[in-house]
Symmetry: C2
Subunit: 234 residues, 2 copies
């Protein structure tokens, strides 16, 4: 892990897509003067479910997987975080122990933002507070949708949905492969099924001409049909 430093973190403090977009120049200064940017290697744990955290984490570079631990230590992935996203703010704001474990999926640069700063910004800037509320509301709605899907759809439908989500979240490389490396096990802990089922259905979808597989890389060949499957229409 690299040492912390205090330069202005472009991905979080400045990004127009991030929750920090409503900060004034002065507030940006305050924020960036307190940031500590750290390097995490693939597989590193930022924090574990149940531990106390003293600030939030903002992704500058890389990808994080965020999961809860269930029966027999089986992880359930509930979200990813990409550059511009923040994580840990829930526990910070509610002053509770972390409700998820966060792990770097690839080598990543992550800024740490101490709790006080977040609280100070909420106090100072009601637009920032509103952005935070909107962010959590959006995530809450997504979570509720996923509850509905996981309760009502088949594994095949959920896998199709997950692939589309990954496609939309991480885009594709020059060859059309989704630019994220997940193990079959990771996929199974998003979909909520056994690893073997993911493998079987992936090759099914491949033989139906919907997918191309090259190791962990996945290319969606027929997005339209994939959406139909995901919507339980097909």
């Amino acid at each position: 892990m690299g040492e912390g430093n205090t330069y202005l973190c472009k991905a979080c403090a400045c990004s127009s897509v991030s929750v920090f977009k409503s900060l004034s120049n002065e507030e940006h200064e305050l924020l960036s003067s307190k940031l500590k940017c750290n390097f995490y290697k693939k597989g590193d744990i930022l924090y574990r479910e149940g531990s106390r955290i003293t600030g939030c984490y903002c992704v500058q570079k890389g990808v994080l997987k965020i999961y809860k631990t269930g029966i027999d230590e089986k992880p359930q992935i509930v979200a990813f975080a990409r550059p511009g996203d923040i994580t840990g703010y829930r526990s910070v704001l509610s002053n509770e122990v972390a409700c998820t474990t966060v792990e770097a999926l690839e080598d990543s640069e992550i800024c740490f933002i101490p709790s006080e700063i977040i609280f100070a910004l909420i106090k100072k800037n009601s637009d920032f507070a509103l952005s935070l509320i909107q962010l959590t509301c959006k995530e809450l709605n997504q979570a509720n949708s996923y509850i509905k899907d996981i309760a009502q759809k088949t594994v095949r439908e959920r896998l199709a949905e997950t692939l589309i989500m990954l496609y939309e979240t991480f885009n594709v490389d020059a060859e059309g492969y989704i630019t994220i490396n997940l193990t079959r096990e990771d996929l199974s802990s998003i979909v909520g099924t056994a690893t073997e089922s993911v493998i079987r259905i992936l090759s099914e979808l491949k033989s139906e001409g919907l997918l191309e597989l090259k190791g962990k890389k996945i290319k969606i060949l027929d997005l339209k049909k994939m959406k139909l499957i995901s919507d339980s229409i097909f």
Copy 2:
């Protein structure tokens, strides 16, 4: 439905458990001067998924069920609202159409709070904003937990969990029956399963001495054992 009126709504404006606890006297005045309290009959719909709403709803009396509509119009219950709870704030704050349908489970009195008031209060009072953030964070965490459970637990385990949740949320009457009337179908749309499965497992649990059933009324006889089942230990 009854006519709106402007008296101070005790359940929402004053409740120390509600999100409004951090309001000043002056802000309470503002809030209660704008409230409209309405009566809804059992089965009445407050608003439907996809419709525009212009404020939030605060439960004064009664119970609301909050659900998303899935495949073949099958509802998935994602929450209940009891006196002191508010609903609709997500769509209001994000300025999006309602993401759930809300229905009165029993005859209810519900206050309507226009959007402007909510926004004004966020702007004026950062503690109120923080309360709202904390509320959504708490709900988000619950939703993520439920995703984990629904993905990893069996129907039996989830039903046990649901019964415990209902027990803790709605308490029991003098005879020990949980004080909420849900159809087996309602139960199935919480648990995420077929109605027949709920019926079967309920009578299983009854024959195992864990439950007493009297029509829709449910009494948990062995909470400890029920928790073990819910935790996949038994």
